[in-house]
């Protein structure tokens, strides 16, 4: 009896070990396969189209003759929208994080943290829809534009999507600053603001940078909401109040009409590789800052 029980345990042990191993291997395999697929499809473009014209071409006309797959307008579209969003989200996010971590009374702090997480839980398509019916007309009115579907509208809306990430990571970073720094600064006669500005922010700087990088990562990868309100004109933007089209929106909008295996199809995967490289770089930088903190 006892002997049998032992054998049963051994079998369970053996099976569980294999199952867990398999689960681990499968997730790694998926990542590798996706990456290989992305590379294979994307790089196929360069059999017929020069990488130089792809990376530095100034126009994206996939259905002209001959087609033009210059990624620069899309890249700039993404950059303008992302930069705009970051310029709005970072100061607001930093302010909110400082307020939550250092200034707000305890009861309000809990409420605010809850609300920030609530903001993170709103599906991006819903934010996009709300943006389309409220923000877009406002931008059109205020700037007297022919259309409110502009990079600016996209930037404002994306700022709200990036805020929860920025605020909650930054708030963690500020809370993690040792109490002794605060005591030291206060004992030297620093006011609360001087303490925050001269001690807390430098002490939490790597966490703050990580928060900003992850916020950028969130913004640059966003697709549907941006597609809804940036106007989708694939041309080089000269002002933030013009319609633009981002890299992500291009893939989403054109994938349905591109013939599988065509040059256009491969070009969209090429954009995918470019996006992948950008997000990878951003996440890598963020984790570099997070590690440096420890």
């Amino acid at each position: 009896m006892n002997f049998l029980k032992h054998r049963w345990n051994d079998i369970v042990e053996y099976v569980m070990e294999k199952v867990i191993f398999l689960a681990g291997i499968i997730s790694i395999a998926f990542v590798v396969l996706i990456f290989i697929f992305l590379l294979k499809e994307g790089l196929s473009l360069f059999k017929t189209y020069s990488p130089f014209s792809f990376l530095f071409g100034l126009s994206w006309y996939p259905i002209s003759h001959p087609p033009k797959f210059g990624v620069v307008p899309l890249f700039l579209g993404s950059i303008v929208v992302t930069l705009g969003a970051i310029l709005i989200a970072v100061p607001l996010g930093v302010g909110a994080a400082i307020y939550i971590a250092e200034v707000a009374p305890r009861w309000l702090r809990e409420i605010l943290k809850g609300l920030v997480e609530f903001l993170a839980a709103i599906p991006s398509i819903v934010l996009g829809f709300i943006g389309l019916v409220t923000l877009v007309p406002i931008v059109k009115e205020v700037f007297g534009l022919p259309t409110g579907l502009t990079a600016l509208s996209g930037a404002i809306m994306l700022a709200f999507m990036a805020m929860p990430t920025i605020v909650s990571i930054m708030e963690d970073a500020l809370t993690a600053v040792p109490e002794s720094y605060r005591a030291g600064a206060v004992a030297l006669g620093a006011t609360k603001w001087q303490m925050i500005w001269r001690v807390l922010l430098p002490a939490a700087s790597s966490g703050i940078l990580a928060a900003i990088m992850l916020g950028i990562g969130r913004v640059i990868g966003e697709t549907m909401a941006v597609m809804m309100i940036t106007g989708n004109a694939a041309r080089i933007p000269t002002s933030i109040t013009q319609p633009v089209r981002t890299m992500t929106a291009t893939i989403a909008a054109e994938m349905g009409e591109a013939v599988q295996g065509s040059e256009h199809y491969f070009a969209l995967f090429g954009i995918g590789i470019l996006l992948f490289c950008i997000t990878f770089l951003i996440n890598f930088t963020a984790s570099f800052f997070i590690k440096r903190k420890r």
């Binding site: 002794s180 030291g184 006011t191």
Partner: protein, 253 residues
Amino acid sequence: MSERTIIRINHFNLFYDQFHALKDICLEIPEKQVTAMIGPSGCGKSTLLRSINRMNDLIDTVRITGQILVDDQPIYDKGLNLVSFRKKVGMVFQRPNPFPLSVYENVAFGPRLHMKLTKKELHGRVQQSLEDVDLWSDLKDSLDISALDLSGEQQQRLCIARLLAVSPEVLLMDEPCSALDPNATQRVEELIRDLKNDYTIVIVTHNMAQAARVSDQTAYFYLGEVVEIGPTEKIFTTPSKKETEDYITGRFG
């Protein structure tokens, strides 16, 4: 040696919520001397030290009655300018707490808050402060390194230099050597004896030998009360209270 009283504590009571942590403390601290506060853990000595710098203001639940006067100025008055008051009364903490900035920026921190100095004046002040704590010769070529890369002893010296840079009158030290090894402790004690020539020092310590070595006056605390206060020599040789003697001879505490 001057005998002017710089800190006067009058019937001072402090409560954490319901807990009566300091009971009717009356103490006088003479200028340019070292006053040691000893007693078992939880006896209120650190709480009193923090009260002299109003650091207990950071805690919401603290309530006080009575008054503490520094240079005859009541520090718990509403009209007190906390910023310039804390410039006058500086605090060294149990664990060295340099800011995560460069050595130079740590020392320059206080002057930048309180004084409008030219670059040259600031540099002179930083150098003078570091010289006063015997760090200048070791660190003059590495003022840019992070203060967190210094040894524990250097960090604690730096924290003292950081105070000296704003020309305080009183230095409050909360077990300044408890995170240091014996050799470093000995050197910091020497520094405390040197500093006494220019500053009034109040030191809280668990180490009775340290109190005996560095202080001129010693106060023995027990359960939130001052049991006995007097010249250090007298407290350690012929204490007038039985409780003090028990504590000092190690029968208790």
